[in-house]
């Protein structure tokens, strides 16, 4: 109960950590104008799981963090239903809830758990969703994220991203660790660590592999590593720098950057390291390739016109078209999953900030207010953009909604965190 109080207090102040004890702590520093009021009654749970963080707490934290929900206090409500027959809708309309979630966690033979939940419309007094999960006890957090995703999708009409993973590089005690964590910062796993820098992690489209650049041989080399087996292979170790890997949407190829010709240029290589082909030919820097979602084009950063700007060319090469025109320094392009929005780092009078550009209209909106922002990437649903920022000389992560309304900060207790990339759903 104390925990719930703390959660609600933090939510109201909007400035303090929602969840403590995780490696990355998520804070909400802004919210949507219209928030859906939802009541989540603590699920009944067997005594064996009583000491663990409850499924209900995780669902509530997820929905709050999205900025689109207002999770209501349920303690003072007379009825505490767990099943449909126990629900008295008048109790919930009295606290202005529009939606209500009830559920149970039950022990099953063989050390399994059955998690059941229902999502109810308080105004219409009907059931919107009902589902059961048969899980191992270790899957409680993931199941809670999946339930939060289902509630989010039902009530907002777009897919949730709570049961997804992110990757980032954490510099801790002089070592660089490439890590993968749940989207709420929990459950961090180190994929690879080195005394030399690691940059530019890129998810394979199936979410099972990461390509990244490691300086462990005193120069940048591209590796591809399986998250399932931990095995890794050298994808590119050519003369000069090997960097900026980006998977094609079909997972068969990667765009990479080599300085084979002394100047950074874009190449395409098969995922097994064969079939290298140069696709950009300029006398300036061409780097940071990013595939359009349909694989037909590659967006990239080039200073061919003087300062760095973002261009687009066919993924087989050819003439490039300039995409960004505001300001003299626009880098690190990333495309929304629907292909309609471009996010990038834009230098203006205030510093280096995250911008989003509507590719159809060319309209640009600056989303972040900090001054040293880098490495933006879209969440799989296209709503949030995860990026790196610098607070007090230390790297940390932040996220902002593509409309600029919802802002989150993910801070690490000890490390210097950079180079984030939002990945895919947890299976």
């Amino acid at each position: 109960m104390i925990k719930r109080l703390i959660l609600v207090f933090f939510f109201l102040t909007g400035l303090l950590p929602l969840i403590a004890g995780a490696e990355l702590t998520v804070e909400i520093v802004g919210g949507a104008a219209q928030q859906i009021p939802i009541a989540i009654v603590p699920f009944s749970a067997p005594a064996s799981t009583a000491s663990q963080e409850s499924v209900t707490d995780v669902i509530g934290a997820d929905l709050s963090r999205s900025g689109l929900f207002r999770v209501l206090e349920t303690r003072g409500v007379a009825s505490q239903p767990h099943t449909l027959t126990d629900v008295k809708y008048s109790d919930w309309s009295a606290i202005q809830a529009q939606a209500l979630t009830v559920g149970t966690v039950e022990s099953l033979p063989g050390n399994r758990l059955k998690v059941s939940f229902r999502l109810l419309d308080v105004l219409k007094q009907n059931q919107l969703l009902a589902m059961e999960f048969n899980i191992a006890p270790s899957q409680q957090r993931t199941t809670a994220h999946k339930i939060a995703d289902l509630i989010y999708e039902k009530l907002t009409g777009e897919k949730g991203v709570f049961a997804t993973r992110i990757t980032y590089v954490n510099k801790l005690n002089g070592r660089y660790a490439l890590q993968v964590a749940d989207a709420d910062g929990f459950n961090p796993q180190t994929v690879v660590s080195s005394k030399e820098p690691i940059i530019s992690p890129s998810w394979s489209p199936d979410g099972t592999k990461l390509a990244y650049v490691s300086f462990e041989k005193k120069k940048p080399i591209i590796f591809v590593q399986s998250l399932l087996s931990g095995q890794r292979m050298v994808l590119a170790n050519f003369k000069g720098n090997n960097s900026a890997p980006a998977w094609s949407p079909d997972g068969k190829k990667l765009a990479i950057v080599l300085t084979y010709s002394a100047n950074s240029q874009i190449y395409v290589i098969n995922a097994d390291g064969t079939g290298l082909q140069q696709v950009s030919f300029s006398s300036g820097i061409d780097t940071e390739p990013e595939w359009a979602p349909d694989g037909s084009a590659i967006y990239f950063t080039s200073n061919r016109g003087g300062g760095p700007q973002i261009y687009r060319m066919a993924s087989t090469g050819g003439e490039a078209k300039r995409i960004t025109f505001e300001g003299s320094y626009n880098v690190s392009p990333h495309i929304s999953p629907d292909g309609k929005l471009l996010t990038y780092v834009k230098q203006d009078a205030k510093g280096f900030r995250i911008a989003v550009q509507d590719l159809a209209t060319g309209q640009v909106q600056t989303l972040s207010e900090t001054t040293q922002d880098e490495s933006p990437s879209f969440a799989p649903n296209g709503r949030m953009i995860l990026y790196a920022t610098n607070i007090g000389g230390k790297g940390s992560l932040a996220a902002v909604s593509a409309d600029g309304r919802v802002k989150q900060r993910l801070t690490d207790n000890g490390g210097d965190v950079r180079e984030p990339s939002w990945g895919f759903a947890i299976n």
Binding site: G21, V192, S193, S243, P308
Partner: protein, 183 residues
């Protein structure tokens, strides 16, 4: 306070528990090719490893010009403007002196390490650092240093100061360093 301590402990436990690939840290020299013929940086003729020290790098009084603070060859850094890779006129004497040294000492080799300040994207800065190292190399080529004596590498912004707040600090990171083999 307790919470962050606890969190650190949890993190440490997680880090220890998860199966990961730890890269072995080799104490490798920055120059990959450690060829035998170069001992330019030996501090004195009587090196106690018994190897014959190169006399080419030492002047008549036995002081290594590369280490002599009164010699321009002891200066190793070329600084650049933001988002630029042109070698500015003020660094020409430094670059020329090293090029002439390489010309006079055909066995000497250098690694030119390009760097950028911490602002902007890491990948763009990696490419920019590369162009800075290549710009210094080309300036040396003009004066007669041979390609085979010069290697280039970029560290991008990876060696940059993270706590800079003004250009006095950032400008220090926008540089190419000339490092002789064996140093």
């Amino acid at each position: 306070m307790k919470k962050s301590l606890l969190a650190s402990a949890v993190l440490a436990a997680l880090l220890a528990a998860c199966s990961s690939t730890a890269v072995k840290d080799k104490p490798a020299a920055p120059v990959e090719d450690s060829s035998k013929s170069s001992a330019q940086t030996a501090p004195a003729p009587a090196a106690d490893d018994g190897a014959s020290t190169g006399t080419a790098s030492q002047d008549s009084v036995g002081v290594n010009p590369l280490k002599d603070p009164n010699n321009i060859l002891s200066k190793r850094s070329v600084y650049f403007d933001f988002d630029k890779d042109e070698v500015k006129a003020e660094y020409r004497p430094l670059v020329d002196a090293h090029a002439k040294y390489l010309q006079a000492n055909p066995n000497a080799k250098v690694m030119i390490q390009g760097n950028a300040d911490s602002r902007g994207s890491r990948e763009y800065n990696l490419a920019l650092g590369q162009r800075r190292s290549v710009a210094v190399k080309k300036a040396m080529n003009v004066v007669g240093a041979q390609d085979k004596q010069i290697e280039t590498v970029s560290y991008g912004e990876e060696k940059a100061t993270q706590t800079c707040k003004d250009d006095g600090c950032w400008s220090h990171d926008r540089r190419a360093d000339i490092v002789y083999e064996g140093e």
